[in-house]
């Protein structure tokens, strides 16, 4: 009889740590919101799409690494972040900062030389916004941290659009605002479940400042605006019925999840299940909404 297979956690190596610094799971969604608008804006070559993906990954990864450098003191007190390379002692803060800056510099060069200067400038603006406005200024000082800081995550659609058209128009700005208004409900769902961690680290997330019930109400209001914004590109004639139907169905499900969570909280029932569902579904929601844009335009051509 053979012995049962032993399952072990992967041993951290420098390569794995460097990848972990870029937060690849978060970036995958950012790349979808950059790539889909490229196909909605025109018919980009696979080469352009590849360059934007690599440049986008490096820029967002660099921002995430610099974020880990700036947040190294609170990463040590939060269970969720304690195993990151700096608090775990596997990398020095200077190494992480150098890696982050190098990634951002490489991304700027790649996008500026091989795509266009506007796309490079917008990606770099997203980097600075994330590092200085969100991480350095707002994250530890305001419950609006996620709202305004969320703008950093809304730059990828602008980068994708600019990479194909060389300019920005009302559709690109609407896509920016869609991601902007999507961010608070998404992150506040997580914040509701990680309140102890955020409280211990002194990060004034909305549930800690406004309370759970008010945060849930705010999630509802932001989602209402989000759903209205998702209809706007169809209204101005940028997208067709396939996109409209997708936006309505996907949005209704998100709204339903938030209402379910709110009703559970009002009735004094456990709401962490619905909150977790909202957090996970909101990721899928944004990805599918953007894919619907690209498919709608591709089929219409």
């Amino acid at each position: 009889m053979s012995a049962p297979p032993v399952v072990t956690a992967p041993v951290p190596t420098l390569g794995r740590d460097l990848i972990a610094l870029t937060k690849p799971r978060i970036i995958s969604l950012l790349l979808v919101t950059a790539a889909a608008p490229m196909y909605a804006a025109g018919q980009p070559s696979i080469w352009t799409v590849l360059l934007v993906m690599v440049g986008g990954y490096l820029m967002a990864g660099g921002a995430n690494a610099v974020n880990m450098y700036l947040d190294r003191d609170i990463d040590d007190v939060m269970a969720r972040t304690r195993l990151r390379p700096i608090p775990a002692g596997r990398m020095t803060p200077q190494q992480v900062l150098a890696f982050g800056v190098a990634c951002a510099a490489a991304a700027t060069w790649l996008l500026a030389f091989f795509v266009n200067v506007l796309a490079a400038g917008l990606a770099l603006a997203g980097f600075y916004f994330y590092v200085f406005i969100y991480t350095r200024w707002l994250k530890r000082s305001s419950p609006q941290n996620i709202v305004i800081g969320g703008a950093a995550g809304a730059f990828p659609p602008l980068v994708g659009w600019a990479a194909v058209t060389g300019s920005l128009d009302i559709v690109a700005i609407t896509l920016f605002l869609i991601v902007f208004y999507w961010t608070p409900p998404h992150f506040w769902a997580l914040a509701l479940m990680k309140q102890v961690d955020y409280g211990r680290a002194g990060v004034p997330m909305a549930p800690l400042v406004w309370g759970e019930r008010e945060t849930m109400h705010q999630m509802l209001w932001y989602t209402v605006i989000l759903l209205c914004l998702t209809v706007l590109p169809w209204w101005v004639g940028a997208f067709g019925l396939l996109y409209l139907a997708s936006a309505i169905v996907l949005g209704a499900l998100l709204l339903g999840g938030i209402i379910k969570m709110l009703l559970a909280a009002r009735a004094g029932r456990p709401w962490s299940g619905p909150a977790w569902w909202v957090y996970k579904y909101s990721l899928l929601y944004l990805a599918l909404l953007f894919v619907a844009m690209a498919v709608d335009r591709t089929l219409a051509r």
Partner: protein
Amino acid sequence: MLMSVAVSDTLFWLAVALCAIAQLFILKAVFAPAPPPMGGPAEAGRAAGRLRPASRPLEMAWVVLPAVGLVFLFLWAWQLKHPAALASDAGPIAVASNEAAR
């Protein structure tokens, strides 16, 4: 699918109204906030001196800024669909500049 201008415009104004209501509730949370929650992680954070009160004027500015962005976006969208409204507002100037261009 062809949709009449009236129905299309009604949908637009419905979206504007919904956004305005939602934005009012968002503004209310900052301009007329409820008392902060007592006990729990928030209280622990404040006791440890880590959770500091935010600057009120800045909080107000942060919440007004996106609302202003929304207003501009809806105005822009309306002018795109109804360029005649814009042209009639600036009629003589537009005509004069066209003449000059010739």
